[in-house]
C-alpha cells in the first residue's frame, strides 16, 4: 500500500471566517510526516476530521486502505492517536486507563504496555489528574502505541513539555517507527522539532494545504537570493520561480524565492539581474518565508 493516509477534498466550515478547504493530504507508508502550520491554521481540525471526531462537510478519508468515513471505528482501530491534551478521565489511575483502553483494541499487547510503563517510569497507581505534564504526555504515547498501530497521529504531542521530556518522547516515538515501519503524522508549530524527525512535510495555512513535499525537497526549493540593484529590477512576473518576499537593503535586495534551481541564475543574468549570492535556509526560515509570501491573513478577509 503506497499511502498510509489519503484525504481528498476534505472540507469543514468551523466558523464564518474559518474553514478547512479542499484538503488533500497524501501520507506515504512508512513516512514521518510533519504537518506544520501557525496557530489556528487548521491542524487540529484536520486531524479531527481524519479521525472522524468531527464530521466533514465534504471529502474522503482513506486510512490504511479503509474508507474512514464509512468505517471510522475500523480505521481508528489501526491508529494510535495522541491528542493535544490527554483526554483520559482524571479519576482513572494509569493502570485503569490501560485496562480501559485494552477493552477497545483487539490487538492490545499487555506485555508491551507493561514494558513501556516500566521504561517510561509511570506510576501505575497514580490518578491521571495528578500526573505531571511530562507524565501525561508519556501516558498518551503509551496508550497510542500499546496496540501496535500501523499509523500514528500525534497532535502537538510535545507542546509544553520540558526539553528532557520532549527528548524522551521523541526517542520512544522514533524507536517504535523504526522497529515496526509504522507511519507517523505529527502536527506541530515547533519547526525545529519536526526538522529532526520528519522526512515529509505538509504546510497548512488558513485551512488550506500550501505545500506537501519531502522535507529535503522543501528545504532545497526555498532560498534567499542577494540580488544587486545596479539596474532596474524586474517584477516577479515571468520569472521561473516564485518570489515570496523582497527586502530592500542599501545597493541590494534580498529575495526569498521558491522553486529555485542553480541554472536559473542565467535567466536572471539575461535580464540584467546580478545574483550575488544564494543562501541556504533551515526549515524554520523556509517555513517563515513561505508563510510571509502568502501575506497577512487579515488581508484576504
Amino acid at each position: 500500500m503506497p499511502h498510509a493516509l489519503l484525504t481528498r477534498g476534505l472540507a469543514r466550515r468551523m466558523a464564518p471566517d474559518f474553514a478547512v478547504r479542499d484538503l488533500s493530504l497524501t501520507v506515504p507508508t512508512g513516512a514521518v510526516y510533519g504537518l506544520l502550520g501557525p496557530n489556528g491554521a487548521g491542524k487540529t481540525t484536520t486531524l479531527r476530521l481524519i479521525l472522524d471526531l468531527l464530521r466533514p462537510d465534504a471529502g474522503e478519508v482513506e486510512i490504511l486502505g479503509v474508507n474512514a468515513r464509512r468505517y471510522p471505528a475500523e480505521a481508528r482501530r489501526r491508529i494510535g492517536y495522541v491528542p493535544e491534551r490527554l483526554g483520559i478521565p482524571g479519576w482513572m489511575t494509569v493502570a485503569r486507563a490501560l485496562r480501559h483502553h485494552a477493552v477497545f483494541f483487539p490487538s492490545w499487547s499487555r506485555p508491551y504496555a507493561e514494558e513501556l510503563l516500566l521504561r517510561m517510569e509511570l506510576p501505575a497507581d497514580r490518578r491521571v489528574r495528578h500526573l505531571s505534564k511530562g507524565q501525561a504526555g508519556k501516558l498518551a504515547l503509551l496508550l497510542a502505541l500499546a496496540h501496535r498501530p500501523s499509523l500514528l497521529i500525534l497532535d502537538e504531542p510535545t507542546d509544553g513539555l520540558d526539553p528532557v521530556a520532549r527528548r524522551d518522547f521523541t526517542e520512544l516515538l522514533l524507536e517504535y517507527v523504526a522497529d515496526t515501519g509504522a507511519t507517523a503524522l505529527i502536527s506541530s508549530h515547533l519547526v525545529h522539532e519536526l526538522e529532526r524527525v520528519a522526512d515529509w512535510i505538509g504546510v497548512i495555512d488558513r485551512g488550506s494545504l500550501v505545500v506537501e513535499t519531502p522535507l529535503e525537497a522543501f528545504r532545497r526549493s526555498i532560498k534567499r537570493l542577494r540580488v544587486g540593484t545596479g539596474t532596474p529590477l524586474p517584477g516577479a512576473d515571468g520569472l521561473p520561480f516564485d518570489v515570496l518576499a523582497r527586502v530592500q537593503r542599501p545597493r541590494e535586495e534580498l529575495w526569498s524565492v521558491r522553486g529555485w534551481e542553480p541554472a536559473m541564475g542565467a535567466v536572471l543574468a539575461e535580464r540584467g539581474v546580478e545574483v550575488r549570492g544564494v543562501v541556504d535556509l533551515d526549515l524554520e526560515d523556509c517555513y517563515v518565508e513561505l508563510l510571509r509570501g502568502r501575506g497577512d491573513p487579515e488581508e484576504g478577509r
Binding site: 471510522p72 471505528a73 481508528r76 491528542p83 493535544e84 483526554g87 479519576w91 485503569r96 477497545f104
Partner: protein, 220 residues
Amino acid sequence: MIREFLWVEWERRRGMLLLVTALYAAVPLMYLALLGGVTRPGAGGAQLVFQVDPLQLTGLTLVLGVVLSAFAWGAGSWGDERRGGWVYALALPIQRTHLFALRYLAGLAWLALPLLALTALSFVAAAVASVPTGMYAYPGSFSSWAALVSWFLYTLAFVLSARFEHPWRIVAIAAAVLLVAATVPGFGVFPGLSRLVELVAWGGVTPLRVFWGLELPFGS
C-alpha cells in the same frame, strides 16, 4: 463491552449513585412520616393538600431532590471527558452510535438502583402505615411515576450534556423544554411528567397527591 461501561460508571460515580439511592429511599420514608400528620386529630386529607407544614416542605424538597438528582445523573454522563470541544471517548475505535447507546444504557442501568430502593420502600411504607379513611396508598403507581420521571429527566440531561459543554446551557434548555411541555395545550400523554412540571415549576401540588392517591398519575 457493556460490562466495561457499567464498571466505569460505577468507579466514576459510585459516590453520587449512593447519595441518589439514599435520597430516593428517603422519599417513601418521609411520606410515612407525613402520614403522621394526616392521622393527627383534626387533620384531614383535603386540608393536607393545601396545608404547608414543615414536614410537607421536607417532603417537597425530597421530591425536588429526586427530580434534580435524576437530572444531574444524566448531565454528568460526559462532563469530565470533555477536552476543548471534543470528548475523549469518541477517539476510541467504536461506532459513535454504539458509544452513545452503551454509555446511555450503563447510566440508566445504575439509575435502577435508586428506583429499586424507592419501589421497595414504597411498598414497605404502604404496608406498615395505617392509612386514614378515604385515602389509599398507591406504591406501584408512585414507583412507576418516579421511574418515568427519572427516565425522562435522565434522558433529557444525557442528550443535552452530549451536545452542550456548559452546565448552565444544559439546565436552561432543560428548563425550557419542561416549561414548554407543561404549557403546550392538550399535553397529557405523560401525566406523571405533567405532575412533575407542576411540582417543579409552580409547586402546585404536594407530594402527597402523588403518593397517597388524592390525585393519581396512573389511576388505581
